[in-house]
């Protein structure tokens, strides 16, 4: 559709240009005797909404197979099982940092189910063993639970309820998604890990360490790592294939 639009506008522009050349203005003598100034044709503004929408679509990270020498048949079979599960049970799109409420089956609870609300702090695992960790602070006690996405014990995953009076902020498709710029302060050292080192790549935490300590921590940075070609894993083709597969299967 976008290509057709481009063609039409190109043809139109060509027509405009040529009419400009052979039109009256070329032959007409203007009032002050000079040839009229050449007006370049207006640039075509192509608003391609469809491709923009396709870029935004979410593919759950556990579908992308890890880099390795295993037979892709194994991942294909796993994906089939994952799609089967997704047909029966809705797994919403969520990221690290989203607040979720999970209901699991529990034989020992009074009404046989348990509900836990928390913020997602980690998403790991590939294939059917994909997990996510929810964290919450209950009665001054921090609790983290690691749930398996495809476990049959999970009865529902939903976004935790927000205030009823909150209205969704309308956003244009091409605008950037707003990111929370809150910076968290750390407790005094000692820490369980040296979080100021660049290996952990922490964003969103304000380390109140003196300058020379932060500089000393940068000694352990490995700036060559992002250019290491052996570590490159281009998932664009794999992702496109998996997207097509998913849209076919889930569309049925």
């Amino acid at each position: 559709m976008g290509a057709v639009q481009l063609e039409i506008t190109a043809v139109l522009n060509a027509v405009l240009y040529f009419t400009g050349c052979f039109s009256l203005s070329g032959y007409r003598v203007s009032s002050d005797g000079k040839p009229p100034k050449f007006q370049p044709p207006p640039k075509p503004v192509i608003i391609d909404r469809k491709t923009q929408k396709e870029e935004r679509r979410f593919l759950s990270p556990e579908f992308i197979p890890p880099r390795g020498r295993t037979d892709p048949l194994k991942y294909y079979l796993e994906r089939k099982d994952m799609i089967q599960r997704r047909k029966v049970f809705n797994i919403p799109e969520f990221y690290v940092g989203s607040v979720l409420a999970v209901t699991t089956a529990d034989p020992y609870a009074s009404d046989k189910s348990k509900r836990f609300v928390g913020i997602c702090i980690q998403r790991g695992g590939k294939g059917l063993g994909a997990t996510f960790v929810l964290r919450n602070v209950i009665e001054d006690q921090g609790v983290e639970i690691c749930y398996e996405l495809y476990s049959p014990r999970i009865q529902a995953i939903e976004y935790s309820t927000f205030d009823v009076n909150m209205k969704p902020v309308p956003r244009m498709d091409h605008e950037e998604i707003p990111v929370n710029k809150l910076q968290v302060r750390m407790k005094p050292k000692p820490w369980s890990k040296r979080w100021e080192r660049p290996k952990y790549n922490i964003k969103g935490i304000k380390f109140e360490l003196p300058e020379h300590k932060m500089k000393a921590a940068q000694k352990w940075s490995q700036p060559w790592l992002e250019f290491d070609m052996l570590r490159e894993y281009d998932t664009s083709k794999i992702e496109a294939k998996i997207r097509k597969e998913l849209s076919e299967e889930l569309g049925k």
């Binding site: 609870a109 921090g142 983290e144 476990s151 005094p188 109140e208």
Partner: protein, 156 residues
Amino acid sequence: MLGFFGVGYQMALLNRRFGLSLTHLSNAVIQRQFSITGACQAIQKLTRVRVVDNSALGNTPYHRPPKCIHVYNKTGVGKVGDKILLAIKGEKKKALIVGHKMPGPTMTPRFDSNNVVLIEDNGNPIGTRIKTPISCTLRRREGEFSKVLAIARNFV
């Protein structure tokens, strides 16, 4: 990892003893240098634990935190539902582990501190209420821990 928890615990103890809030001190960057052994994360001998019930023995401040001195287990490592021997305020007391920092099997909760409930030799809890959330896996052993589960309020 235990030291990280220990700093907060010591501050809490100080607060209780002097009845003042020393939060203005905690705002400044205090670099405490003390060595900690690597965390084993589950509960074994000499781990400092946190007593979560409302018993007098568990809640009165003392200059030393309660420490585990024996785990009643074939391996010396205690997980949720194991009985341990605690040294509190110069006396020995049995206790039940209700949650630890070590990540357990998936779908089970992982707490930010090693929680413990004081218990008599016959299994009766000393306190009367447990406010902090307790792992649901304890419910499986309803027979042994029925009295502890009865005084617990939140299950996670």
